[in-house]
Amino acid sequence: MASQNQLSREEFDRLREKLGMDGEPAYLDELFTQVRGVFMMADSIRAIDVSGAEPDMAFIPPTD
């Protein structure tokens, strides 16, 4: 869902309403900040060259 573009407040409000999120204005302001952080993280990870790498499989435990 996150994109390379900076998330606008209008876009955030549209998305959160679709997801059924509501709250006081101060709560939503803080949530908006958090979600922008999520988008920035996505951009940061997108910049990593992951070609050839499979997703980490933490649930396959080592054995003797």
């Binding site: 869902m1 979600v35 999520v38 990870i45 997703p55 080592p62």
Partner: protein
């Protein structure tokens, strides 16, 4: 023996006295209950105190030991568990009033192992709600307070575990570590905290924050007590899908005091991040001491360290939201707002982004393993700062103002991503008397080397013998 003296004795020392019948488990438990009475109004380490149950168990332990049925080094020793470890018949809240009356029907694997070893459960420890935060704030059961200065956070999420061990309320405590939640309070409260290798200690019966990042582990005042505890709680558990089938050594065999020939890598990127100069100095002094003891010190580079926050946060937020999705929909309005916000923000992470973060995690892991071909351990600060004030959102790391959440997790998250064992051991105090931690990380399942270096360093200092003013 003086109450306070009993409360600050290590499990290693107490167990010798218990075995030789010089001290009774009843005396030990009474001493700790007295200590809890005196300090709990300030610290708020416990959510549930099991005074009567502990007294009864102590009387039974005394009887068994008198009758020659000594079970081992944890017999009669007080243990307290973070309140997301399920305990049969004892409420387990995960730090939320939503689960105020939840009483599990069976013990988690770790609790069952402690019980088998004869340890005495003193109570369930306060924690950041659902383990989703690094400070130790909790509006439902009250914030946790640092024994070295009650205006400051304990660190989290296993904050009650940190304060209880540091203040002599309990000999052995446990935490769970998803982004640093064992090592953060260990560093900020001045104790030892080990995040074992992923899969070494069973997660069965623990409330999850992030399946692929969660690590249960011990929090104690000495490295020896951590080793003793690992001897009890480590091992394969068929009830945990991620549990590893590996040989379990005697962890106390690592406590040789010798670091000669150990190759310790100093990750240069750690020292380029925001870092309090007093912390930097304490950690560099610790590394110099290890070098003077015979360790070989080498600067190394972990370039992907700079992406560790993004990788870890993406995986953690997506998994935490998936785990708590039903709760969020049903009881979201009852959650601590910062926790609710983090859970809701996780809904904005797509499956593709989650998987890309897991791909990046694989590369991060490989880079870490290559580093550990060059050296035996990686060293650095556990925390870039000492404990911030309770409810502060920003903290100064040297001359730079940084967010508390990001700062407290900046050095701990890498080892949740790659699953390597990592320990925090006290390495000094700031000018205002707050503890500082040295972090040492090793190869997967090589806890012996991590414990060996941490113990040798500990024994060359007296940091672990200092007591908070409370």
């Amino acid at each position: 023996m003086d109450t306070l003296e009993i409360c600050y004795m290590s499990a290693g020392d107490l167990s010798k006295l218990v075995q030789s019948k010089e001290i009774s488990p009843v005396e030990i438990i009474e001493a700790h209950l007295t200590r809890i009475d005196a300090t709990e109004p300030v610290l708020n380490s416990f959510i549930t105190l099991l005074a009567d149950q502990a007294r009864k168990a102590a009387r039974q332990a005394e009887k068994d030991i008198q009758a020659g049925r000594y079970k081992g080094p944890l017999h009669g020793i007080p243990v307290a568990l973070k309140d997301l470890y399920n305990t049969g018949g004892v409420r387990t809240t995960s730090g939320s009033r939503i689960f105020d009356t939840f009483i599990p029907t069976e013990d988690c694997t770790v609790a069952a192992k402690f019980h088998q070893a004869g340890a005495i459960l003193l109570g369930k420890l306060n924690m950041h709600q659902f383990a989703y935060g690094p400070t130790g704030e909790n509006p439902d059961y009250g914030h946790m307070h640092n024994p070295w200065n009650p205006d400051m956070v304990t660190g989290g999420s296993s904050g009650g575990s940190g304060s209880a061990a540091a203040a002599g309320q309990c000999t052995i405590t446990t935490g769970s570590d998803t982004g640093g939640s064992i090592r953060i309070p260990a560093a900020l409260c001045g104790i030892v905290g080990l995040k074992p290798t992923y899969g070494l200690v069973s997660r069965y019966g623990l409330s999850s924050l992030s399946w692929s990042l969660d690590h249960p582990g011990p929090m104690t005042r000495t490295v020896e007590d951590t080793a003793i505890t690992m001897n009890v709680i480590a091992g394969h558990d068929p009830k945990d899908v991620a549990s590893a089938k590996v040989d379990i050594p005697d962890y106390t065999s690592a406590l040789t005091g010798d670091v000669k020939g150990l190759r310790i890598g100093i990750v240069k990127e750690y020292f380029e991040a925001p870092l309090d100069p007093q912390v930097r100095k304490a950690v560099m002094d610790a590394i110099s001491l290890l070098e003077s003891m015979g360790a070989e010190i080498k600067e190394v580079s972990y370039p992907m360290f700079n992406q560790s926050q993004a990788i870890s946060s993406t995986v953690l937020m997506a998994e935490a939201t998936a785990y708590h999705r039903d709760l969020l929909e049903k009881d979201g309005h009852q959650l601590y707002e910062p926790v609710r916000q983090r859970l809701e923000a996780g809904l904005f992470i797509s499956a593709a982004e989650y998987l890309r973060a897991q791909q990046a995690r694989s590369i991060f892991d490989q880079q870490g393993r290559r580093l550990l071909d060059e050296v035996d351990l990686l060293a650095g600060p556990t925390e870039p700062v000492t404990a911030p004030e309770i409810l502060a959102s920003k903290v100064m790391a040297g001359e730079q103002e940084v967010g508390v959440v990001g700062a407290l997790t900046q050095y701990t998250r890498p080892y949740n991503i790659n699953g390597f064992p990592a320990i925090s051991v006290p390495c000094g105090f700031s000018d205002d008397g707050m503890p500082i931690g040295l972090q040492l990380a090793g190869r997967p399942f090589d806890e012996l080397t991590v414990l060996r270096a941490a113990h040798a360093y500990e024994q060359a200092n007296d940091w672990h013998t200092r007591r908070p003013p409370i």
